[in-house]
Amino acid sequence: MKYVDEFRDPEKAKRLLAEIEGLSARITERLGRPLAIMEVCGGHTHSIFKYGIETMLPRSVELVHGPGCPVCVLPMGRVDDCVALAETPGVIFTTFGDAMRVPGSKKSLLQAKAEGADVRMVYSPLDALAIARDNPDREIVFFGLGFETTMPSTAMTVLAAEAEGIENFSLFCNHITIIPTIKAILDSPDLRLDGFLGPGHVSMVIGTRPYNFIAEHYHRPVVIAGFEPLDILHALWMVLKQIDEGRAEIENQYARIVPEEGNAVALDAIARVFELRPYFEWRGLGSIDHSGVRIREAYGRFDAERRFSVPALKIADPKSCQCGEVLKGVIKPRDCKVFGSVCTPETPLGALMVSSEGACAAYYQYGDLAVLEAEGA
C-alpha cells in the first residue's frame, strides 16, 4: 500500500521529534523529573526497537516496555501443561510458532517435538481445525494464547467446530485480557507512569471505551497507537501534549484501524465462548485477578482442560531470572544479571528473550548497543 511508505517518512519523523523534544523539555522542567511512558503492547516494543525510536528520543522521556507480549508472560507451569498435552498418546498438538521455544521447567514444545511428540506449527487456529477434519481418529489440541487480538479467532474456530460437528478438536485456552492487566500495573506500588501508548490491535477488537477508567480514576492519558514509526512518534507527541495541557483523556491515533466501539462480531464471539477466570498466573507478575479467560460450560467439550488431565502445577521462575522486574519496567533488560550471558535468544532462560516482541530479545537484537551509545556509556 502506498501510504505505508508515507508512515515512514524521515522528514516527518524529524519534525515530530523536534516537537516532542520541546514539549518534554517544558514538562520535565516543570515537574523536576523525567517522564515515564509505557507502551503496553509487545508489537510497539518490537517497532520501537526495530526503528531505534528509543535512541531518537530526548533523555527526559523514558519508554517503559509493558507486559503486552502474550508469549512472554506465559508461566512455566502452563508450558509444562502444553508439553504434557503434546505427549499424550493420540494427540496432535498445534500451536503458533512463537510459543515453540518458550522454556518450561523441563523442556520446551520444540524439545518435546524432537523427542517424538506430534507438535505442529500452524498459522491459524483454522488450520488446526482442518487438521482435525483430516484426522478423525486423532485428538487435535490447539494452544490458544494472546490478548483480545487473537481471542476472536479462537472463539470463532470453536464456534466453527461446533457448527460443523467436529468433535476431535479442543482448545487449551491461555488467553489473557488487557484491562485487568493495565489495572494491575497502575496499582503496582513500585511503578510510576505518566501515560500510556495504548495497544493498537487489542483496541481494534475492544474499542476505546474500556480504557476510560485510566483517565477517570488514575488521571493518566492514553493514546491508542499504530505500529509504524510515525504512528508511535505521533502518539507519543499526543500523550505529551495531554500532559502539558493537564489533560487525561483516551485519544485514538490509530483511527484508520481502531473504531471507537470495537468490532461487534469479534466481541460477540468472545462473549459466547469465553468467560473470565477468577485469576490467572503470569510469569514474573504473579497472579492477576480476572486477567485470563476460559471456555464456558456450554462449549466445555472443546476445552482441553476439561477433556484431558493437565498437571496444572505452579512452577517458580528460575532465581536468577528478573523477568518480572523488566515486565513492570522497574529495571531495563540489560540490568538483569543473566542478560546476554546465560540468557540469550538461542538459550532463553526467561520468556522475554524468546519472542521478538519480548523486551529482552528486542534489546538483544536491536537496541542494547545503540542505547548504550546514545547514553554515552
Binding site: K12, L16, P70, H201
Partner: protein, 99 residues
C-alpha cells in the same frame, strides 16, 4: 501473531462460512471475513477491500480515508512546528537561539 498483515480481498470463496481469498504480499490464502462484514457492508462488497489479517481472520478494514487524515495531521504538524520554531527563534533574544 499480534501485528497483523495488510492484504487485499480477491474473491469470495465460501459465502456460507464467510471465507474469501486474500492476497497478502503476493501470497493468496483463504481468510475468514466474518469480522469485516455487517449489514452496511455485506460479504460481496468486500472484494477489493484492504483488510488487516490476524492469524487467518480479517479483523479490520483499513480505512483509507482515516489513513489519509492521519497523514494530513502529520503534514500539518510539520508546518505548525516550523512556524512555532520560527516564532520561538524570533522571540528569543537575538543570537541566543533555541535549544
Amino acid at each position: 501473531m499480534c501485528l497483523g498483515i495488510p492484504g487485499q480481498v480477491v474473491e469470495i470463496t465460501d459465502p456460507q462460512r464467510k471465507l474469501g481469498l486474500v492476497d497478502v504480499a503476493g501470497v493468496k490464502r483463504e481468510i475468514n471475513l466474518a469480522c469485516v462484514v455487517d449489514e452496511a457492508h455485506p460479504l460481496e462488497a468486500c472484494v477489493g477491500d484492504w483488510v488487516l489479517v490476524h492469524v487467518g481472520f480479517a479483523m479490520s478494514r483499513i480505512d483509507a480515508q482515516q489513513a489519509a487524515e492521519t497523514l494530513a495531521i502529520l503534514e500539518q504538524l510539520g508546518e505548525v512546528q516550523e512556524e512555532i520554531a520560527a516564532m520561538r527563534a524570533s522571540a528569543a533574544s537575538p543570537g541566543a537561539g533555541t535549544p
